[in-house]
Symmetry: C2
Subunit: 146 residues, 2 copies
DNA sequence: ACAATCCGGACAAACCCGGTCCGGATTGCA
DNA sequence: TGCAATCCGGACCGGGTTTGTCCGGATTGT
């Protein structure tokens, strides 16, 4: 299924919520807006902060703020921030030990074009493309129904 | 990391071994050539057979045979055969229940262009591209060293 | 000085995947 | 006709990864 981590999905949702307004939002605020658990949101924002996609402002009246507009953040960047380097197999970038008997496997290295193609596809999509309308508002509405 | 199942890697290796000669090979034979465990190879070949990528011949003197030349088998087909439909998120093709509070999530459906791009990238690569030389021979050599 | 907030890591639980095994069905050969 | 070889389908369990949570420490505005 080429599974994408669920954390990455959360990251996109959190970024969309952050993109709704240009103000500083705290982690509990964003958790309430997205309907996700607060520690989980904090964890995702932490990762995004390390990657430089959001700015974390410490201290009282602190919170998180977008480092760039959503239209300048690609999906590839988010995936890298949450899941690490984009690669389909473990036999990449000198990960020795992953293949036991396949030390001389001729397939090794042949995946590179595929990986590049995937990276290009993911770099062509921005978070703004994924959440053109106000995602946060829709989530609030969904929560109101429950 | 966009992890691809290890079974899919095995499938590529098994297909490459099958592509070496146009004869019928039994599962134990292929297991010995690829250096993989026999039940695992059998499982992979079973999946590939269900997908129509290989023909399984029953009875004595039976075995497996390529249904098509490797140059006509795309990586996307192998992935679909082993892992199921190619999609980055679970919020696809009416998988209700995956998203609990996000029944009306506006992001839903927006992943389709991304998924299509991934599919196209994976459909552009054939197994013959991944294993141009005799992979089986290299595996035998690696086993001889051990 | 205090309160609010982010930061970093450690931790248990749940889920999924990898790998194995078994019995049944089917076919070729003696 | 009987036997052996082989694929087929499913169930099963252990290990590992991911998920989600929590806690103490650092930092900053009031």
């Amino acid at each position: 299924m080429l599974r994408l981590s669920r954390m990455t999905d959360y990251a996109v949702v959190a970024l969309s919520a952050l993109g709704g307004a240009e103000a500083v939002r705290t982690a509990p605020e964003l958790a309430a807006e997205t309907g996700l658990a607060e520690p989980t949101v904090a964890k995702v924002l932490k990762l995004l902060g390390q990657a430089g996609l959001v700015d974390g402002l410490r201290g009282a009246r602190g919170g998180y703020r977008l480092a760039r507009p959503l239209s300048a953040v690609t999906l590839a960047e988010v995936i890298v921030a949450i899941e690490g380097p984009i690669a389909l197999t473990a036999c990449v970038d000198g990960a020795s030990g992953g293949c036991d008997t396949e030390a001389t496997c001729p397939i090794r290295g042949r995946w590179d074009p595929v990986n590049d193609a995937i990276r290009n596809a993911l770099s062509a999509v921005t978070i703004a493309d994924l959440a053109p309308t106000s995602c946060a508002a829709a989530h609030r509405a969904a929560l109101a129904l429950a």
